[in-house]
């Protein structure tokens, strides 16, 4: 049976999912974008992974349009005028979203929704505004059917932000992903607590370290897809990843890895990125003719490449001969110190590389702790995370995270699963988040263990939708299938539960 026929006959694929799968198949028929033999060899071994980005890129991986510009000038190509009221504003966004490409073909950044919509919301009757926003969220969930679709709010409190939180909790949808940009000086405790409550019940919003992102990107940054930091009016060309465990398999010692195997694999990944970025800019039509570019919603010089890594824990454990994960990376000072050495080496080598078409970043790529994909199984934990199943106390886990998060301007994060009693004490969770962001944590996510909407590795799925797939039924959300794979292969939903501890006496 041909691959095309497999797709066409798969009972679990929606029409739109079939279409995307067939497009991917079509793209794979051209192999004129070639890499070195050493690259293919490393890829075959599993040390390098291109995240199935496709062999012939016809758009950057992630695109973060300047929606403020859209609201100021409208869009000629789509014949949209600047909106005058809330209904028009929401309608303009809903139309525009359908024309923002990405690796998934869905818009991975929906804008800073509270800031964009607040002036219009304030002009309306509150109940009417709530109804419009509710329909807007429903439209996003049913039309942009992919959990990598991501919206941002904060750092300031707003009427729109509050309404979006209320509706998010009430509607219990997996789409869109949502981030609060948190700044202890700009975000009130009251608003942050409302976000914590919503996060526990709906697995969103996550908390982004606003000050850290601003320092690296300036005020106009977006959190897109899972948790990718990128420029508004720009985006990310490509995101391949070093699978560090596999990169280490041929090393004779930690020193040998640092001197030989690691630099070799870094260079091969850089080769992939350079060729791919040049192809997107020079060969594809996107930067020449797409209306997002020609009308200035994105500018090529605001894009960068995301240099991804996964499996640091397993890499360190392997190099140190640690077989029991419970005594390895995250719980073992020597393994954690080796992890820092490895990250220093990656950071320095990538920073020394002159990257093509990354003008806004001093011609450099930026590091990304990739969240893993379903086929990683238990071999490579997401980014620099401690493996699922051996997590230490939350305090120790945060301490390890705080050491590694600063390396990754284009995103990293960790996820904590809470038992029900924490719902009664959002202030306790806020204290933990505040302390940790202040200590260098970049991105904090959480959810209650019994939720239907849960965060798998960086994206959201509904457990009930996974069950549909298991029953050979279709799930509207394109990402549900990844959630199922990550649970089956990587036990991604079995992370440690933060219990409340019984007190004595």
């Amino acid at each position: 049976m041909s691959e095309a026929l497999n797709i066409i006959q798969d009972p679990t694929l929606t029409y739109h999912q079939e279409l995307l799968a067939l497009a991917r198949l079509g793209e794979s028929t051209d192999d004129s974008l070639r890499y070195s033999d050493a690259y293919y060899e490393a890829k075959k071994k599993g040390a390098l992974c291109d995240l199935n980005e496709g062999v012939m890129p016809y758009r950057p991986r992630y695109i973060c349009p300047d929606y403020e510009l859209l609201f100021q000038k409208g869009c000629k190509f789509l014949d949209l005028k600047p909106p005058k009221d809330l209904l028009e504003a929401v309608n303009v966004l809903e139309i525009f979203y359908c024309h923002v490409p990405s690796i998934t073909s869905f818009p991975v950044y929906l804008g800073d929704l509270d800031k964009l919509l607040e002036p219009f919301v304030l002009k309306e009757d509150r109940a009417f505004a709530r109804k419009v926003l509710g329909l807007f969220l429903r439209n996003i969930d049913r039309v942009q059917t992919d959990s990598f679709v991501h919206a941002d709010i904060g750092p300031e409190d707003s009427v729109t932000g509050r309404l979006l939180l209320e509706l998010t909790e009430e509607m219990q949808l997996a789409i869109p992903n949502l981030t609060l940009r948190y700044d202890p000086e700009k975000t009130s405790d009251d608003f942050a607590l409302a976000c914590v409550r919503c996060m526990l019940r709906t697995a969103k919003p996550s908390f982004a370290n606003h000050r850290m992102f601003v320092k690296e990107w300036g005020e106009r940054y977006a959190i897109a897809s899972c948790y990718n930091g990128l420029n508004i009016g720009g985006g990310g060309y490509t995101l391949p990843r070093l699978r560090l465990y596999e990169c280490a398999l041929d090393a004779k010692s930690p020193e040998d890895f640092l001197e030989r195997e690691l630099p070799r694999h870094i260079d091969l990944q850089l080769e992939y990125m350079d060729k791919r970025v040049k192809f997107i800019v020079e060969q594809s039509s996107f930067f020449k003719t797409n209306f997002l570019v020609t009308e200035g919603f994105v500018r090529q010089e605001n894009f960068t490449g995301m240099f991804g890594v996964v499996g640091l824990a397993e890499c360190c454990n392997y190099l140190l001969g640690i077989e029991d994960k419970k005594k390895g990376f995250g719980m073992n000072a020597e393994a954690t110190a080796l992890g820092l050495k490895i990250m220093d080496a990656i950071e320095a080598r990538v920073a020394a590389h002159e990257a093509p078409y990354c003008e806004a970043y001093g011609h450099r790529y930026r590091l990304h702790a990739q969240v893993g994909i379903d086929s990683d199984g238990m071999d490579d934990s997401p980014g620099t995370r401690i493996p699922i199943g051996v997590e230490p106390t939350m305090l120790e886990q945060l301490e390890v995270n705080e050491k590694f998060h600063p390396y990754f301007p284009t995103g990293t994060g960790d996820i904590f699963k809470f038992e029900e009693t924490w719902l009664k004490t959002p202030d306790a969770i806020l204290a933990i988040i505040k302390g940790s962001l202040n200590n260098g944590l970049r991105y904090f996510s959480g959810y209650l263990e019994n939720n239907d909407v849960v965060r798998v590795t960086g994206y959201l799925v509904k457990k009930s939708e996974i069950e549909k797939l298991r029953a050979k039924k279709q799930s509207l959300n394109n990402v549900t299938v990844f959630g199922m794979g990550a649970q089956d292969g990587g036990h991604a939903l079995d992370r440690r539960v933060q219990q409340h501890e019984e007190c004595g006496a």
Partner: protein, 280 residues
Amino acid sequence: MSRTAPVNRIIPFSNVDGPGNRTSIFFQGCPFNCLFCHNPETIHLCRACGACVEKCPAGALRLEGGAVIWDSARCVGCDTCIKLCPHDSSPKIRHMTVEDVMREIRRAAPYIEGITTSGGECTLQNEFLIELFTEVRKLGKTCLIDSNGSFDFEADPRVLEVSEGVMLDVKAVEQSWSDALISYPRDMVLKNLDYLLRVGKLYEVRTLIFPDRDRENEETVRYVAEHIGDGCFYKIIRYRPYGVREKYQKVLGEFETDAACAETYAALARSLGAAKAYVV
């Protein structure tokens, strides 16, 4: 030599021992012997009988110089030692100095509002608490005492001067019920209830509600509510058999108190003026 205290365990993050996120320190040893105790291994200090040593599957225990020595690095946390201890104790106790405890508190400090000392009964370590709280306050953190009320705070109020207050268990009021339930005279507990309230150091009172003990439950709740009014929180806790010694489960019940039943007592407390009564 610096003063030490027997510490059963330290939980870096706790959301159930007072306001916000807190580090909870559980001391070993308690003068009560409550039938419902969820952590009976915290009641007595180890008598070094050695019953646990041979049975430890990880070889983490040994008898040395008349004491059971616990090797925390070898321990796999199976709790076999606790389950078979004939004296309601645990060999996994650390004798810690104030500085030892402070080292752990400093680590958690960025994430917590304060600490809570519990047990066992932490006021058995009164001098230790005074030193510890003095140090913790230098970090700008708050100190709460979780107590069974056996310590005479009025006679020695020094620890209160370095603490935000006490979370007091009032487990039983009626004399015979108290004798049966906690094996300790309840007079000091009731005296502390009044005293701590009067000096503004009562953070909260807790009462456990038992299944099929309507008369005893009501008597306790009524007494507390009438005394505290809206002066502090009143936490109504449902009895849960989990962790309770089997022989006492037979006395108290093998099922937890249902939520609706507990709510009726919270409502009763509120109707008597204890506005801040709630069920957990």
